[in-house]
């Protein structure tokens, strides 16, 4: 078995030796031949250099064109035009039990909202918000869809100069915290707080005109003249503020209202604001016992690191014999809320609300505790526990939990 292996190795060595000898015998290239080779290689290098430069130019030119296209497209999410769109929505599940033992279990597409905007020029723009509540509307008694379709914003904004801007149309009254900023990822709690529902009738859209300015020291001011509330003076919702919203639908403009707000945001994490709303006749009807009305609101927001504290107070003072007799001349409420972000994506909160509205069911104290989880900065999952104690009727107490998902884009 060893002989074949030995013969193979010997033949291989002999072959390699003869090849080396033959190579050693070949004549070395002359200097002229080497010079020719070097020149040819140099020519190739030059050609490659030129080719690389041309490629670079083409890449640069392509980059320029792409950048120009990007620049023309970045007017907004709506594409290449000056029109933009966005929106938000929230789906709620409520699992609550009333004091009288009645359960309230419901799932509801509470809000689905689309924003449309258009930039007419650098100084003039259109802003709108179209909202569908509770899944939609269906005309007729006993129909499944019991929601609303509403225009909550539709105004033209004009920059009068670098300092002052004005708007006219349908806009959100500059009061409270939630009325203007209510995208679900921006606040804690599945349902909005009751103070900014019963006392401040959010979302409170008004029609009229406003002027605003922002100062360098962090103070901003806004003044608006707009359609007023028209609260009912009879029936189960008599003198109820929320029932006075006219929703810009053939609104009675006999007694317009005015709202002024001053806000301070001159320190990071701090917001202080106060607003006043005045209407000469809140029912817009004479001799019905409901006359002039003033709403005062004030709030503070303080964020330091992961901790945020919020407090808001709102108070209606309404003149008139009938409203006074119904104990509705003073309607007010406040809440305090503390929240803490355990991580960038997860925060817990607790809120105490005290509401003193006109109806029996609108007079209560309520505690909310829960958490928000943001799987994306524009998407939120919310869970909270609610415990409400009615001031007058324990049958109207409420406790249970809510789950919600919200988003904005």
């Amino acid at each position: 078995m060893k002989h074949p292996n030995f013969l193979t190795k010997t033949a291989l060595i002999a072959g390699l030796t003869s090849a080396s000898l033959a190579q050693a015998a070949a004549p070395a290239p002359t200097l002229e031949e080497l010079w020719t080779v070097i020149q040819a290689q140099q020519k190739q290098i030059e050609q490659l250099r030129k080719k690389t430069a041309r490629t670079d130019e083409k890449v640069e030119a392509t980059g320029e064109i792409l950048e120009q296209q990007v620049a023309s497209n970045k007017a907004g999410h709506g594409g290449s035009s000056k029109s933009t769109f966005g929106g938000y929505g929230e789906l709620h599940y409520n699992n609550l039990e009333q004091g009288d033992g009645e359960d309230f279990k419901e799932i509801d597409l509470h809000r689905f909202v689309l924003f449309f905007g258009h930039e007419f020029s650098d100084k003039m723009r259109f802003v709108s918000e179209l909202e569908v509540e509770h899944g939609g509307v269906q005309p007729g008694e006993g129909k499944t869809l019991g929601g609303e379709v509403e225009i909550e914003q539709a105004y033209i904004e004009l920059d009068i100069n670098d300092e002052v801007s004005a708007k006219a149309g349908v806009f959100l009254a500059p009061v409270g915290i939630l009325n203007e900023t209510h995208e679900p990822p921006t606040f804690y709690g599945v349902e909005r707080n009751p103070v900014e529902n019963i006392i401040i009738p959010s979302t409170w859209a008004v029609a009229g005109a406003s002027v605003s300015t922002n100062f360098d020291n962090g103070i901003s001011a806004e003044f608006a003249i707009h359609d007023g509330l028209k609260i009912p003076t009879t029936g189960s919702s008599a003198f109820r503020i929320r029932s006075g919203r006219q929703k810009i639908s053939n609104s009675d403009a006999t007694d317009p209202a005015m709202t002024a707000r001053v806000k301070y945001t001159g320190v990071p994490g701090l917001e202080l604001a106060g607003s006043v709303n005045y209407q000469s006749d809140i029912s817009q009807a004479s001799s019905d016992g409901a006359d002039s009305a003033v709403l005062l609101t004030t709030h503070a927001i303080w964020t330091r690191g992961p901790f945020t504290a919020k407090a808001l107070y709102a108070n209606w003072d309404i003149d008139g014999d009938a409203v006074k007799a119904a104990d509705g001349d003073k309607q007010d409420g406040y809440y305090v809320e503390g929240s803490y972000k355990l991580t960038k994506d997860f925060g817990i909160f607790a809120r105490y609300n005290d509401v003193d509205g006109i109806r029996v069911q609108d007079e209560f104290e309520q505690i909310d505790v829960g958490f928000n989880w943001w799987p994306h900065e524009d998407v939120v999952v919310k869970v909270d526990y609610v415990d409400r104690e009615n001031n007058n009727d324990s049958d109207r107490d409420l406790d249970g939990f809510n789950v919600g998902i919200g988003y904005q884009f």
Partner: protein
């Protein structure tokens, strides 16, 4: 209506600025380099750089490459990010891998104008980047300006990351 007109007239001469061009980007660069700005360079946002930039912004970068100006251990960047609907143009200077200065140059959003003020942007001074490309210091937000605040935080993170990709990075080879 007379009251409304009166308020309008009273507000006209006040010194304030909500939206618009606060400083032209070229003026910002000249100011940063004291009218002796180096030639602009371009950084291609491709490959791993594109992936990390996308992670920071939450969407792919709008540009294939970004212009910057570098000198010594400093780089200056003009970056844009949409707050809610409109782009916010920001000038950012990075020095020795930390933010030296951040300034809002053009602001076209209708809300969130407060981010342009020094009381807000001063928070970014000397801020750096953690290994996970998050800022190494907390930035206090502004209520009602959430999206504008978010845009500035993203752009400062992006500038810090891109600076580390240049020859001007403090520990560049």
């Amino acid at each position: 209506m007379r009251l409304f007109t009166l308020v309008l007239i009273c507000l006209l001469p006040l010194e304030a600025l909500s939206r618009g061009v606060y400083q032209q980007p070229t003026d910002f660069i000249n100011e940063v380099f004291q009218n002796n700005a180096p030639a602009a360079k371009r950084l291609w946002i491709t490959g791993e750089r594109k992936k990390i930039s996308s992670d920071i912004l939450g969407h792919p970068p709008l540009s294939l490459r970004l212009r910057f100006w570098g000198q010594g251990s400093r780089t200056a960047w003009i970056l844009e990010e949409i707050g809610k609907e409109k782009p916010i143009t920001v000038g950012i200077v990075i020095n020795k891998n930390r933010v030296e200065r951040i300034k809002v140059l053009i602001f076209l959003e209708s809300r969130g104008w407060e981010v342009r003020h020094d009381f807000f942007t001063d928070q970014f001074k000397h801020i750096g980047l953690q290994t996970d490309t998050e800022l190494d210091k907390h930035i206090d937000g502004i209520s009602g300006a959430t999206l504008s605040v978010r845009a500035l935080k993203k752009l400062s993170r992006l500038a810090l990351y891109l600076h580390s990709q240049t020859d001007f990075a403090h520990d560049a080879p």
